[in-house]
């Protein structure tokens, strides 16, 4: 394989829990009140070392959004999604921002997140601004 281009972050870093590639900084969290199939998800202002998938229209808890899935460049595992556009005005604040699923990342303290099987959230998204 060629040499991966990875950005090294400084500070409190969230990293991929498979290959430990840096993904985002604690300081860039906008909101912690998001959900995905596997439980909690955080909204980040900026995420690095990811590649994007195809654009999709997805119906989320707060309405229809155009999103792209994001994948870790190191191991290719899916780590969340990026909001390309929101169809409702109140959701516009999410445009250009990223969701990292808490289950897929290691926290800054190296902690993993255990999926809460009991609280099966019915959908993804949240944080009504």
């Amino acid at each position: 394989m060629g040499r991966l281009f990875v950005i090294t972050l400084e500070g409190s870093v969230y990293s991929c829990n498979h290959c430990h590639t840096h993904l985002a900084l604690l300081d860039d969290i906008i909101s912690k009140s998001f959900h995905c199939r596997h439980g909690k998800a955080y909204l980040f202002d900026k995420v690095v070392n990811i590649t994007v998938g195809e654009k999709e229209e997805r119906m989320m808890m707060t309405g229809l959004h155009t999103v792209v899935d994001i994948f870790c460049v190191g191991c290719g595992s899916i780590v969340g999604w990026k909001y390309e556009s929101a169809h409702e005005k109140t959701q516009k604040y999410k445009e250009g921002k990223f969701i990292l699923e808490r289950f897929k990342v290691l926290g800054p303290d190296g902690s993993n997140y255990l999926v809460n099987h009991d609280a099966m959230v019915s959908g993804s998204d949240a944080d009504n601004a």
Binding site: M1, G2, L4, F5, V6, V48
Partner: protein
């Protein structure tokens, strides 16, 4: 003859002059650079453009100027009679009569008269008159000195040159040259004989440069315009990659595509065998570079140490390390006497070959993943210092310059003449920056694919007129550097092409390295060329060596 008469059919008149010109010129052809062919010139009557006549299909060439520079060219070529005849027949004088007088006076050494004439030319800029007078009087001064008329020279200096009140430094030098004749030799450019005055023709040339071009037409103006046009044609020729292409004046220059490497000459490792295995690194080796004399290798382990090896024997000569830190990049000085390396604490260190650290620039100078290069004069060290910025560090002047981008920088490549930097960005663009004086973005190149890996690009071809790059879609991309146009996207590899290298001495050869574990050598698509290495049906693959 002479005088522009409007009632006479203009085309007929023009036709006569062109023929007459060719007639007179002793059998050799008159070189004419015309926009549009000479046929156009004869066929179309010149349009009046608010009183000024123009020639050429676009109507931008003023006839008077055109004829004057042709006359000037004729005189420069030595065709004095032709030049005079042109002036007479067209009624357009090369120079006004007063300029002719002035030129004659300068060439004959009538200094005082020439200075007087200078004032009568009708120049509006005082400084020009003074500077020109200064030059003339300076010549007078030196000619006196050459004739050993020291008192006359002194008088000139005192009463004529000094009162001009310009160029005081020069006046001092002149007075010094009276006192100390030997000093004069260093002051002026050396002459073949001991004469201190330059030739009068040279003086005339200097004066020409001072005076406005409309007053006195610059030397070789026509040649300059033609060269400019040829230069533009050459720059616009996107496939120009061969020295033996001669540019003719008779047709616009355009090369065919066949000068760009586009054919995989060699893919397997035929004729190449393993010489040494260099063991010693504990971590993956991230870079390898040959010493300037090609006898040694420098390798860097990822966040580990830098090792120097003797290539013929395979022996490790030195290990460069820093306690508690890891090296991330390395390079040779252009004279091969020292090496430099990036460290994972963002500093850059310089080392003597024997291992002694010479210098260390602490602070944000380089990143863990960053190229590290040095200009061939050894003055500037270049590295990515921040996600979106490249540092150009002048070692001697201790000056830092920064190329700032909007996107993350993944790699860069320095041109051989140290004037340009090719910057690869995260968003799949390649930016060409000029780094000589001011840092300026010159061009952008797009088309290749990059999402995960470090993909490298390089300059190449004749006079580095092309930009080549690897790509994650397995193609080798080649753009024309000047126009930014994509010329080739070469298929062949079956994996991401990580880097490319254009042969510095052979503009028709390119190498590429890929995730498919092969290195391809690309050349011209000329099947008649001898291919001693290929097998019967062409090319076969082989896994690269260890």
């Amino acid at each position: 003859m002479g005088g522009v008469e409007d009632d006479e059919p203009a085309s007929k008149r023009m036709k006569l002059s062109s023929e007459a010109l060719i007639h007179l010129s002793n059998g050799s052809t008159v070189k004419e650079s015309i926009v549009g062919s000479s046929r156009d010139l004869m066929a179309r009557p010149p349009q009046s453009d608010g009183g000024e006549e123009v020639v050429g299909s676009k109507g931008v060439i003023k006839k008077v100027e055109f004829v004057r520079i042709i006359a000037k060219a004729l005189y420069s070529l030595g065709y004095i009679r032709s030049g005079a005849h042109l002036e007479e027949e067209s009624g357009i004088a090369l120079h006004s009569s007063i300029i002719n007088v002035f030129m004659r006076q300068v060439l004959e050494g009538d200094w005082d008269e020439s200075v007087a004439t200078l004032h009568n030319i009708g120049l509006t800029d005082e400084m020009i008159i003074k500077s020109a007078s200064f030059l003339i009087l300076e010549q007078k001064f030196f000619e006196f000195l050459d004739e050993e008329k020291v008192m006359d020279a002194l008088k000139t200096l005192r009463t004529e040159i000094s009162p001009l009140c310009i160029n005081h430094g020069r006046v001092r030098e002149l007075s010094l040259s009276i006192v100390s004749p030997s000093h004069c030799f260093t002051v002026r450019s050396p002459k073949q004989n001991t004469s201190r005055a330059r030739s009068r023709t040279k003086l005339l040339e200097e004066l020409q440069k001072l005076l406005p071009p409309t007053v006195m037409i610059p030397e070789r103006r026509l040649e300059h315009l033609v060269e400019q046009a040829l230069g533009l044609q050459r720059d616009a020729c996107m496939f120009h990659n061969s020295l033996d292409e001669e540019i003719s004046l008779f047709a616009d220059h355009q090369c065919a595509r066949d000068q760009i490497p586009s054919y995989a000459l060699q893919v397997d490792a035929n004729g190449i065998s393993l010489k040494h295995k260099l063991s010693g690194h504990q971590k993956p080796v991230s870079s390898v570079s040959w010493s300037p004399d090609d006898h040694q290798l420098l390798t860097c382990g990822v966040e580990e140490v830098v090792r120097r090896w003797d290539a013929p024997s395979g022996e490790c000569l030195s290990v460069y390390e820093k306690a508690g830190l890891g090296m991330v990049s390395c390079g040779w000085s252009p004279d091969g006497k020292w090496i430099f390396s990036g460290v994972n604490d963002k500093s850059i260190s310089l080392w003597e070959l024997d291992g002694r650290e010479l210098e260390c620039w602490k602070g944000q100078h380089t990143l863990k993943i960053s190229d590290l290069e040095i200009t061939s004069d050894g003055k500037q060290i270049i590295s990515i210092c921040r996600e979106t910025a490249i540092l150009l560090l002048d070692r001697e002047a201790k000056v830092e310059r920064f190329i700032e981008e909007d996107q993350t920088i993944t790699s860069f490549s320095l041109s051989r003449d140290n004037r340009f930097l090719l910057v690869n960005l995260l968003n799949q663009e390649i930016h060409l920056w000029s780094i000589e004086d001011d840092l300026k973005l010159v061009s952008k190149y797009r088309g290749h694919k990059r999402t995960r890996f470090i993909i490298r690009s390089c300059f190449g071809g004749l006079e580095q007129a092309f930009v080549a790059s690897g790509s994650e879609d397995s193609l080798v991309y080649i753009w024309h550097r000047g126009t930014g146009e994509l010329i080739e996207a070469l298929p062949g590899h079956s994996g991401a092409v990580n880097c490319v290298s254009w042969n510095p001495t052979n503009p028709h050869m390119l190498a590429s390295a890929s995730d498919d574990r092969t290195i391809r050598i690309w050349g011209l698509n000329n099947l008649s060329a001898k291919q001693k290495d290929t097998h019967g049906n062409g090319i076969h693959y082989c896994n690269g060596g260890t």
